[in-house]
Amino acid sequence: MNNSTALKIALIGNPNCGKTTLFNQLTGSNQHVGNFPGVTVEKKEGSIRKHKGVTVIDLPGIYSLSPYTAEEVVTRDYLLQEKPDCIINIIDATSIERNLYLTLQLMELDLPMVLALNMMDEVRASGASIDIAKLQEELGIPVVPISASKNEGTEELTLRTIKIAEQQQRPKKLDFCKGYVHTAIHSIAHLIVDEAKQAGLPLRFAATKIVEGDEPVMTALKLMEPEIDIIGHIVEDMESHLKTDREAAMADMRYAYIEKVCAATVVKAGETKEHLRSVKIDNILTHKYFAIPIFLGIMLLVFWLTFGLFGAALSNLLAMGIDEFTALTSQAMQSAGVSPALHSLVIDGVFVGVGSVLSFLPTIVILFCFLSILEDSGYMARVAFVMDKLLRKIGLSGRSFVPMLIGFGCSVPAIMATRTLPSERDRKMTILLTPFMSCSAKLPIYATFTAAFFSEYEALVMFSLYVMGILVGILYGLLLQKTIYKGKPVPFVMELPSYRFPAPKTVLLHMWEKAKDFLIKAFTIIFIATIIIWVLQSFDFGFNMVTDSQNSMLASLGKLLAPIFKPLGFADWRAATALITGLTAKEAVISTFAVLMNASDTSAVISMLSEVFTPLQAFSFLTFCLLYMPCVAAMAAVKREMGGYRIALAAMTFQTIIAWISAFVVYQIGLFIF
């Protein structure tokens, strides 16, 4: 145990620079994952191993401290307001120029700071070298070479960081510029000394941000009219001398300095081995003709392994285990003489409900294993590159393609997978669109109904449902883009990182995190929901246990709701009741029909369904099933990723309205034609 005092360390760097790997090396599994308040930007915290008092906060991966994306704003606000005791800026030594750009901006914050030069092993292997002592001198901050994936240098990094934090050693140097930019920054700095102090902003940061024309900083400083005028003149003067505008002038100044530093410290022997390998792999994976078939092949393999080979086997195994456990508990309860109501609550309510949701767990864990590998290897960025053109029309980028595709398997992991999207707006839009991709739990509904009504056109009906889901999703996307998510999407200017072998530790931690996330949901929201459904199903309004399911509260609720579906062609109370139970899991729709119609097996359901519905009504019902609000597990995921009950509820309500309208249109057009 180390007796160091409580310290707060912020870990920050570009995306794909090994930040998560380093965070995992530093903290092990002592992590807590949450969101920054008010936004759905992930915030991870953990204490450093062997230094319990030292907390590391993993800030979002960003390239700059510009005020445009939620991630950048969150990071800025965090650093400015929380003032961590030290910043660890991790950079990828193999693309040092671009990585140092953020470093220069961070140094302006005047916080103690250490530079972790990652992937030094790759640099050395390529025959290149970086003069660490010289780099330290040029930048005025301590530099520690590390290899996060091999856990080299992390020990030294920790010790150096703690020392810097305790001594509050700030960057020694702030001036990187000469000439007109320099003059402008200094003139403005003189002008705003008091305002910056009042606003609690580091002076140098405030001055450069003003030169850049950064709105939030301008507002925070509460400048007076005469000062604004003088600043305007200073900036105009700089612009006219440099023949460029303020933003370009600043970026140019920073990169010019970085080029100078690199020329003095980096000896390049050529491209790294990893980079050359990466280019070769990329020639195949983003090949003009092979890229899309390869992508579909990979996704097919992932789906087959997840939902077929491993997933199904593990799910069955888990289901068997749960059944055994259920039977044992049931016996134990009976022999202990527990009342039938309590027995039914535990067995028919809790065990069956939570059990059916738990059987998703293996699928989710396996799926996230593959997704994490695809993401960490760098392939996901290539999928975005290849598929971008398809999603652009609805205002999204290629990045949203994979979560939506997973939606065809299960909405829950699909919604959880939106975490990796680089913009908050894209994340939210993708979450809203994903449930329209027909999930695999709806297949039994389609299968039963097509067998009952459309036995000659089974494939066609199935296909039309999937296509309808996609079409409604596209329309919804267009609508969202014109209403709540109007305004410019985050520009699609994306790094294509070098292909790398994913770190097993990162993959495992990612799987564990998602599994934990899902388990918490299963035992909170889903647990409560299943109990509610059980109560409704097992009791009448006098709270007597029902023997005939027709008399339950649920059936009464179904009867109450049935008229709503009259314009859609299926005012049958059993249909309405089945739609309600479908909220626990979509498979429950068919089992509810079976219970309510006293059908002994699926073939009995099939023959009885044709007495309740006409084919058109059946198709209308299928349309509604396809589109209406997702199951509780998916709702819980939406709530978590959208950041609140209210917005999740609004989304669910709206989705159900869309389903109603779509089924209405289908039914009315059908009536007109047939």
């Binding site: 090949h287 053109k389 790094e495």
Partner: protein, 76 residues
């Protein structure tokens, strides 16, 4: 000429960056500044976006955005 007019495999030097707001800032932040050398690595299978090589890393941008960047072709 514009960046989108460069052929795959050829390089150019950035002269001027157009566009505005978040997009322009992002291009600058990612290292597309005056006098930067950019190589066109490839075009996506559906013809858009394109992959660039600059400052020893790979970047992808859409053709529409590439149109806003003025470059001078380098003879190879």
């Amino acid at each position: 000429m514009k960046l989108n007019e460069l052929k795959v495999g050829t390089s150019g030097v950035v002269r001027k960056i157009g566009g505005e707001g978040a997009l322009r800032r992002r291009l600058l932040d990612m290292g597309i500044t005056p006098n930067t050398k950019i190589m066109i690595r490839k075009v996506a299978p559906m013809g858009d976006p394109i992959e660039l090589h600059l400052r020893s890393y790979e970047l992808t941008i859409r053709l529409d955005d590439a149109k806003k960047i003025e470059v001078e072709e380098l003879s190879s």
